[in-house]
C-alpha cells in the first residue's frame, strides 16, 4: 500500500466519520457543523488527488456557501426542536440496514473489479496533477457550452428560488391568485418581472455561447497540432472511430475526446 493510499484512507475515514456524525446527531446545528467538517475532509481528499483548485472551490462553495445557507435555513424554520433532527430508532435501523446492504453491494462490486490500481501512469499523474490553466482551457474550450448552460441554470435557480420563497401579501391566499380587476395591473407587473430579468440574461448567454464558439474551434484545431503532433487522430483511426466528426465545431463528444487526447503529456 503506497503512502498516498494510506493517507487517503486516513483522511477518508475522518471524512466518513464526520459525515456519519452529521447524519446521526440530534441537534441540527451540530449536524451542520459536522457536515462542514466532512466537506473539508473531502477538500483535503481533492487536494491529495492533485485537484487543488477544486479543493479550494470546495471550501469556498460548500463550507462558505452551502453550509451558511443551510444554517440560515435552520434558523428560519426553527421549530419542534425537542424532536431532534433524526427520526425514531426503528426508522434509523431500517435506514441503516438499507444503506449497509447498498454499501455491501458496492464494496463487492469494487473488490470484484480487476485492474483498478494498475492503470498506466497512475503515479506520475498523481504527482503532476492538472494545472489550473489546463482546467481553464477545458472549461472555456471544449466544455464552453456546458459552462454557459450552467450559468443559465444558476439564473433560473435564482429566479425560481425568489418566486418560491417570496413572501406573499398578507391578504393573499397561498394558492393560485384569483385575478380581480383591481390588482390586474400589479399582476401584470409581477408577471413581467421574470421575463424582464430572464430575457437579457438569456440574450447575454446566447451571445457568450456564440463568442465562445470561435475559441473552441481554435483550440480544437490547434490542440492536436501543438501539443501532440505525433498522435494525430487521422493517423490512429482505431482509437478514434468517429474521426469524421472532427470538423464539426459544436460536437461536444468529439471535443471531449479531442481534449482528453490533447492533454496527455
Amino acid at each position: 500500500m503506497s503512502s498516498l493510499e494510506i493517507s487517503l484512507y486516513a483522511v477518508g475515514s475522518l471524512t466518513l466519520a464526520c459525515g456519519l456524525l452529521a447524519m446521526g446527531v440530534r441537534n441540527l446545528v451540530h449536524a451542520l457543523l459536522w457536515f462542514g467538517l466532512s466537506l473539508m475532509g473531502t477538500a483535503v481528499l481533492f487536494a491529495q488527488l492533485g485537484a487543488s483548485f477544486l479543493a479550494g472551490m470546495q471550501i469556498l462553495l460548500y463550507v462558505g456557501g452551502v453550509v451558511m445557507l443551510l444554517i440560515f435555513g435552520v434558523m428560519l424554520t426553527r421549530e419542534h426542536e425537542h424532536l431532534g433532527a433524526v427520526r425514531e430508532v426503528n426508522h434509523r435501523i431500517r435506514a441503516a440496514v438499507v444503506s449497509l446492504v447498498l454499501f455491501a453491494a458496492l464494496v463487492m462490486a469494487i473488490l470484484h473489479t480487476p485492474g483498478l490500481d494498475q492503470a498506466p501512469g497512475l503515479a506520475s499523474q498523481a504527482t503532476a496533477g492538472v494545472t489550473l490553466d489546463q482546467l481553464a482551457v477545458a472549461l472555456l474550450g471544449p466544455y464552453g457550452i456546458a459552462f454557459e448552460v450552467l450559468s443559465l441554470l444558476l439564473l433560473a435557480t435564482m429566479v425560481g428560488a425568489i418566486v418560491l420563497a417570496r413572501k406573499r401579501d398578507p391578504g393573499e391566499p397561498t394558492g393560485r391568485k384569483p385575478i380581480g380587476r383591481q390588482n390586474l395591473g400589479k399582476q401584470r407587473i409581477e408577471g413581467l418581472a421574470s421575463p424582464i430579468i430572464a430575457l437579457p440574461a438569456a440574450a447575454a448567454s446566447v451571445a457568450a455561447i456564440a463568442t465562445v464558439q470561435a475559441p473552441t474551434v481554435a483550440v480544437q484545431a490547434q490542440a492536436p497540432q501543438t501539443t501532440e503532433p505525433a498522435v494525430s487522430e487521422h493517423e490512429s483511426p482505431a482509437e478514434q472511430p468517429t474521426d469524421d466528426t472532427t470538423d464539426a465545431p459544436v460536437d461536444v463528444a468529439a471535443a471531449v475526446a479531442l481534449s482528453a487526447q490533447g492533454d496527455q503529456p
Binding site: 427520526r87 426508522h91 438499507v98 446492504v101 447498498l102 453491494a105 463487492m108 462490486a109
Partner: protein, 604 residues
C-alpha cells in the same frame, strides 16, 4: 324466363304483394269486403298458376326447374339458395295448398260475414300472408328458405288463432301454439346449424359425415313433432281451435300442420340414411294416432274431435314416412288435406248455423242442412277409410308400408286406430246430424253460396283423389299399383265394425255399457292429462333446473365476480397503507431496490 317459373313466382309473389298491400294501406284493409275479394282473387290466381304447373308436371313428372339466387355468400360458394324449386313434390303440395286456401278464403267470406269490416280486412291480410308463407315453404330450394317459411307460417298461425284477440282463451291458445311450436323449432335451428357446420350449405343432398344423418334427422323430427302435433307436443293443436273454423281447416288440418310431414318428404335423403330415427317415427306416429283417436272418442266439441282426429291422421303420416313409404305418407297428406278441410268447413257451416261448437247443441241437423250433412258424412267416411273414397287408399298404403317394415306393434296400433276413427266419426256424425234436435238446431239456418261452393269443390278430391294415386305417385317419383291384401281387408272390416258399433251405441241407443266402460280410459287420455304432465315437468324439472342455474349464476358466476371485486378492494386497501405520502418511505423502496439489484449483479 320460363313461363312455368313465372307461374310459380305468381303463386309466391301475388299473396305476398296482397298481404303487404293490405298491411300498409289501412284504408283498403278497413273496407273489409273489397279487401277480402282482392285476397280471394289473389288466391284464385295462385290456384290457377298452381293448377297449370300441376298439369304440366302430370304430363312430365320428372321435370325439375330452379330459379334461385345465392344468399349468404361464403368464400367461393354460397351457403344458401333462395328462390323457387319446382319438382313433382313441390308442385303437388303447391296445388293442395292453393286449392284448400282458395276454398277456405271463399268460405270465410260467408263464415265471417258478421265480423266488422276492419277485422275482416285484417283476417284476409293474414290469410294472404299465410298463403305466401306456405308457398315460400313449399317452393324452398333448401333448408334455409324452408326454415323462413316455417317460422312465417308459425307466426301467421299465431295471428290467426288469436284472431278474436278479445277472447282471453283465444289469446292464450295463440300463445300456447306459438310457444310449443317454437320450443320444437329449436330442433330445426339445431338442424340448420349442424347441417351448415358439416356440409357448409343448407342443401338437402350434401354428403353428411358418418352417423350425421341420424342426428340431423332427429333434430328435424323434433321440429316436426311440434309443427305436426305429435305426442307429446300435440297439446297446442286442440287449443288452436279457438281460431275461426276456416283457419282451423286451412292451417290446423290441411296445410300448416302438414308442413312437418312435407319437411320429412323434402329431407328424404337425410331420413333415408337414418334408420333409427325412422323406427322412432314409426312408433311415435302410431302412438300419437291411437292416443289422439282415444281422446277424440270423448270430446264434446265438434272442432276438438276434428283436431284430435287431425293429430291422429298426422300420426299416420309420420308412421308411414317412418316405415319408408314416401308415397304413403305424402299421399295421405294430400288426401287428408282435402277431406279434413272438407270436414272442418262442413263443421264450420254447422257452427255458423247453430252458433255453438258443442255436439249437445246440435242433433237432427240433416233436415235443415242437407248438403252440409252430405259433405260431412262423405268426409267422415273418407276419414274412416271406406273403400272407394280417397282416405282409404292412402291409409292402406301406410298400413302396408308399416307391415312391410316389420313393425307389428305400430301396425297393431294403427289398425286399432282405424277402427276407433270410424267409431268416433260415426259418433260425431250421429250426434250432430241425426238423433233428437236440440233447441238451437231447430232454429238453424242453411249456409250461403260462398260456403257451399268450397264444400262442393272439396268434395271432388275427397271422393275421387284415391283413383288418382297412380299419377300422383309419378309426381312423387314413386310407383303405385293398387292391390288389396289381408291388411287392407282387415282394415276395411275394422272400419265397418267401428261404424256399425258407433251406430249401435249412438244411433240406436244400444250397448250403453260400452261407453261407460271406456270412460275411465278416455278420462286418462283426455286433453288436460298431457298438459298437466308438461306443466308438472315444467314446474318441477324446468323450474328446478332454472333454480339450479340461477343459484349457479348468483353464487358461482356473480360470486366469482364479487369475489374478484372484493379481492381488489381488499388488496387495494392493504396496498394503500404503503402509500404513506412520506417521501422517505418511497425512498426506502428506491434505495432498497437499488441495493438488491446491485447485490444481484454482484452475486452473478
Amino acid at each position: 324466363m320460363n313461363p312455368l317459373i313465372s307461374a310459380a313466382l305468381v303463386a309466391l309473389g301475388l299473396p305476398a304483394a296482397l298481404a303487404l298491400l293490405l298491411a300498409v294501406v289501412p284504408k283498403l284493409r278497413r273496407t273489409g269486403k273489397p279487401a277480402a275479394l282482392l285476397s280471394i282473387l289473389g288466391s284464385l290466381l295462385a290456384l290457377s298458376a298452381a293448377g297449370w304447373l300441376a298439369a304440366t308436371w302430370l304430363h312430365d313428372p320428372k321435370q325439375v326447374l330452379d330459379l334461385t339466387t345465392s344468399w349468404l355468400p361464403q368464400s367461393g360458394k354460397s351457403m344458401s339458395q333462395v328462390g323457387v324449386h319446382l319438382d313433382g313434390i313441390s308442385v303437388s303440395m303447391l296445388l293442395v295448398v292453393a286449392i284448400v286456401a282458395s276454398c277456405v278464403q271463399l268460405f270465410s267470406l260467408g263464415y265471417l260475414s258478421d265480423e266488422p269490416a276492419p277485422a275482416l280486412g285484417r283476417y284476409y291480410a293474414y290469410q294472404s300472408l299465410f298463403l305466401f308463407s306456405m308457398n315460400l315453404l313449399v317452393l324452398a330450394p333448401d333448408l334455409m328458405q324452408l326454415f323462413l317459411g316455417w317460422e312465417l307460417v308459425g307466426a301467421t298461425s299465431y295471428l290467426l288463432i288469436g284472431f278474436w284477440f278479445t277472447r282471453p282463451a283465444a289469446g292464450k291458445a295463440a300463445l300456447k301454439a306459438f310457444v310449443v311450436t317454437k320450443f320444437a323449432d329449436s330442433g330445426l335451428i339445431l338442424a340448420l346449424i349442424t347441417l351448415v357446420a358439416w356440409t357448409g350449405s343448407f342443401s338437402w343432398n350434401a354428403t353428411l359425415p358418418a352417423g350425421g344423418a341420424e342426428w340431423l334427422a332427429l333434430f328435424l323430427f323434433i321440429a316436426v313433432m311440434g309443427k305436426s302435433a305429435q305426442f307429446p307436443l300435440h297439446i297446442w293443436l286442440p287449443d288452436a281451435m279457438q281460431g275461426p273454423t276456416p283457419v282451423s281447416a286451412l292451417l290446423h288440418a290441411a296445410t300448416m300442420v302438414a308442413a312437418g310431414v312435407y319437411l320429412i318428404v323434402r329431407a328424404d335423403p337425410i331420413f333415408a340414411a337414418a334408420p333409427h330415427v325412422r323406427l322412432f317415427m314409426t312408433d311415435l306416429g302410431a302412438i300419437t294416432a291411437l292416443f289422439a283417436a282415444l281422446i277424440a272418442m270423448v270430446q264434446t266439441d265438434i272442432k276438438k274431435v276434428l283436431a284430435y282426429s287431425t293429430c291422429s291422421q298426422l300420426g299416420y303420416m309420420i308412421s308411414g314416412l317412418g316405415a319408408g313409404s314416401l308415397m304413403g305418407g305424402y299421399f295421405h297428406l294430400t288426401t287428408h288435406a282435402f277431406f279434413k278441410a272438407l270436414l272442418f268447413l262442413a263443421a264450420g257451416a254447422v257452427i255458423h248455423a247453430v252458433h255453438s261448437n258443442e255436439l249437445s247443441d246440435m242433433g237432427g241437423l240433416w233436415r235443415k242442412l242437407k248438403f252440409t250433412t252430405v259433405a260431412f258424412v262423405i268426409g267422415s267416411l273418407s276419414l274412416a277409410g271406406l273403400p272407394g273414397l280417397s282416405g282409404f287408399y292412402s291409409k292402406d298404403l301406410i298400413l302396408e308400408a308399416v307391415h312391410e317394415s316389420g313393425n307389428p306393434l305400430a301396425l297393431g296400433l294403427l289398425m286399432a286406430t282405424a277402427g276407433l276413427t270410424a267409431f268416433y266419426m260415426t259418433r260425431t256424425v250421429v250426434k250432430a246430424f241425426f238423433g233428437k234436435p236440440s233447441h238451437a238446431a231447430e232454429h238453424a239456418h242453411g249456409p250461403g253460396p260462398s260456403m257451399t261452393i268450397p264444400l262442393l269443390i272439396l268434395l271432388v278430391p275427397a271422393i275421387g283423389l284415391g283413383w288418382l294415386a297412380g299419377p300422383m305417385s309419378k309426381l312423387y317419383g314413386r310407383s303405385y299399383a293398387f292391390h288389396l291384401d289381408t291388411i287392407g281387408m282387415v282394415t276395411i272390416a275394422l272400419g265397418l265394425g267401428g261404424i256399425a258399433l258407433g251406430w249401435l251405441i249412438y244411433g240406436m241407443g244400444l250397448l250403453q255399457a260400452l261407453p261407460r266402460a271406456f270412460a275411465p280410459i278416455a278420462r286418462i287420455a283426455n286433453g288436460s292429462t298431457v298438459d298437466d304432465l308438461w306443466a308438472l315437468s315444467y314446474s318441477k324439472l324446468g323450474m328446478g333446473l332454472a333454480r339450479a342455474i340461477a343459484w349457479f349464476d348468483r353464487y358461482i358466476i356473480d360470486g366469482l365476480m364479487n369475489f374478484l371485486g372484493w379481492l381488489f378492494m381488499w388488496s387495494g386497501q392493504r396496498v394503500r397503507t404503503l402509500q404513506t405520502g412520506n417521501v422517505q418511505d418511497y425512498l426506502y423502496a428506491v434505495f432498497g431496490a437499488a441495493a438488491l439489484i446491485a447485490l444481484w449483479g454482484g452475486w452473478r
